[in-house]
């Protein structure tokens, strides 16, 4: 799988099925793919594919237990992921772009001067 660590993280968590899987893992602490397939509407194969994506993103870690492999969510990584996501997508980025537009219009108003609000006049 290509892409930066952050891209892998985004790809891993923006898929609702994988988040449901994370829900179950967080609730249980640890689970095998078989156990996950029993409580989720996915086949064992589909669960395994999701687990590979989550593992590549660093969000889950496998542990061999006899003939089984148990998966657990990595708390540190989920913490980091949540923070990155909040920082990247929060409304401030949208607001900053709006501030930029308003300030640049305000600056340009004296020279180029198109009114920003048609119909509204400045005193």
């Amino acid at each position: 799988m290509s892409g930066t660590a952050e891209e892998r993280l985004w790809a891993a968590v923006t898929e609702p099925g994988r988040r449901r899987l994370l829900d179950v893992l967080v609730e249980r602490g640890e689970a095998t793919p078989t156990a996950l397939a029993e409580v989720l509407p996915y086949t064992r194969q589909a669960v395994s594919k999701h687990l590979v994506v989550l593992q590549e993103a660093g969000l889950v870690t496998p542990r061999r237990d006899g003939r089984q492999v148990r998966y657990a969510v990595r708390a540190d990584q989920l913490e980091a992921a949540a923070r990155v996501m909040v920082e990247t997508a929060n409304r401030w980025s949208v607001r900053l772009r709006a501030i930029k537009r308003v300030a640049e219009e305000l600056h340009g108003a004296g020279t180029t001067g198109p009114p920003d609000h048609p119909g509204r006049t400045n005193e």
Binding site: G29, L78, A81, H107
Partner: protein, 160 residues
């Protein structure tokens, strides 16, 4: 680990224009809230009214008024306020979020930085935190944050 939102942007305008955009009600109304009662004076107790975008098409847009209290005002350098505190209470850590803008002149314009802190100090129920994050982020980020809280608030006994 405290949640801190930090963002910056280069604006092709002098600090004076950026400052006015951030601090004058008529300009704030163009990038932030629909109704603005805010004066760039330390201690000013004002309000911002927002119309939220509905989470699904069937829902009507909601209107919400949020309190805002101005903290520091250093013209053309820094501007900060606390917001989201409940009616009747002064804005304090634990009941409000602190937003700080800093302006730096830079080649080509002004570097504007915003830092928002206090989300995890809030005396909020997880439901209120969800609401806040839902209004400020996308739904799936809220989901991730909730999972994180669930996980971090629990002893990680399965890890060696």
């Amino acid at each position: 680990m405290p949640i801190t939102i930090e963002q910056d942007i280069l604006i092709e305008a002098p600090v004076e224009a950026v400052w006015r955009t951030l601090t004058e009600a008529e300009h704030i109304a163009r990038w932030f809230a629909v109704d603005v009662d805010l004066d760039a004076t330390p201690g000013y107790d004002g309000t911002l009214r927002f119309t939220g975008s509905p989470t699904n098409a069937a829902e009507a847009p909601r209107s919400r008024t949020v309190r805002v209290e101005v903290r520091s005002v250093d013209p053309e350098r820094t501007f900060s306020y606390r917001w989201q505190h409940p009616p009747g209470a002064p804005a304090l850590p634990g009941n409000s979020l602190l937003v700080t803008f800093t302006l730096h002149p830079e080649a080509g314009g002004t570097r504007l930085r915003v830092v928002e802190t206090g989300m995890d100090d809030m005396d909020w129920t997880s439901e209120q935190l969800d609401t806040y994050l839902a209004e400020h982020t996308q739904g799936w980020i809220t989901h991730l944050g909730r999972l994180r809280d669930q996980l971090v608030g629990r002893p990680a006994d399965h890890r060696s």
